[in-house]
Symmetry: C3
Subunit: 137 residues, 3 copies
């Protein structure tokens, strides 16, 4: 058994941008040289989330749009007394900061049309660091 930690660098424009992390996570699993185990993908920060989705432009727009409709940026948020991104905090807490994907024989157990995605809800572009940790044997 062993643990390997990789920090992924992600450029994001925010505002509901959906970014595919699958290839970077897959490379981290390959490099870790552990046969079976889990990859945990975790975003530090409270205005972005991680989940899986089919990464095609339509689904990416649908996911962003649905979250903006359910938790609108122009809603009334207590957090906006000290900042401008109350909606981003609620959207991120609801989506959750991490996803755990099992791998077997060095291969992630994702479906064919299933990718690991970061969704950045914040109101500005930035460079994000995402933690990818591999635990296995």
């Amino acid at each position: 058994m062993g643990v390997a930690t990789v920090r992924l660098q992600v450029s994001t424009r925010g505002n509901g941008a959906v970014i595919d992390l699958t290839q970077q996570v897959d490379e981290a699993v390959k490099k870790a040289q552990l046969r079976d185990g889990i990859a945990i993908v975790f975003v530090p920060g409270s205005t972005a989330g991680v989940t899986t989705a089919e990464f095609e432009p339509g689904v990416a727009r649908d996911l962003s749009t649905a979250l903006r409709r359910l938790i609108p940026p122009d809603g009334d948020y207590w957090h906006n007394r000290i900042d401008d991104n109350g909606h981003a905090h609620v959207q991120a807490a609801l989506l959750g900061p991490s996803v755990t994907v099992p791998f077997s024989d060095h291969t992630l157990g994702l479906g064919t049309w299933q990718q690991i995605v970061l969704v950045d809800f914040d109101t500005r572009a930035r460079q994000r660091e995402v933690i990818c940790q591999i635990i296995g044997e």
Copy 2:
């Protein structure tokens, strides 16, 4: 420390069906012969999700109904230019593809009225494979 991977076979009618996986996960934990650790339940595919809920018919209907109300099947989705299940993709991404449940002394740490459930949002019945991975010592 060790890792055990089991693939669960699940028949589902889709359209928000809620399926109880607890017994299969519990059996996988027992068979793994690891005393303490975690069970990760992960669904490959991007139109179903995994969470925990009290598995009684009322909660199952309430959960499906709430997700259909929040992200309606007859909404306007970009993904529906290439398929008919845009809502299923958004619902699944929001619920998330996996749940991680700790176990101690071979026993899952679930509450008395808490079950591990798959929710299948796709628009058709199918046979699903769910990955259950046990990591522990």
Copy 3:
């Protein structure tokens, strides 16, 4: 590699209360004497959830308010034929019962303004037990 399990005691007034668990999880990581790995925070029971959020009063109120607006307590729930907390079950299933946070060099990989929070949706105050499990090397 090793596994350590700690049971956190949490007093909650329910009804969407947001409780910061970060310090207790951080202490559990320090005590486990494992350098790198993951902390899994899991709530037994089906009317509370765990996620991360910036723990300041505004975000806490915004998160509770958004979930009450999306899944209202006075909605029509099948579960309310046998209890009074159908909304709490749906809110909890949607938020999810657990979060997995990686740690490196005994330090949780949280952002500066990111805390591990329990959100209790049930309709009454109670004492909750939350499982914190540490796996690593």
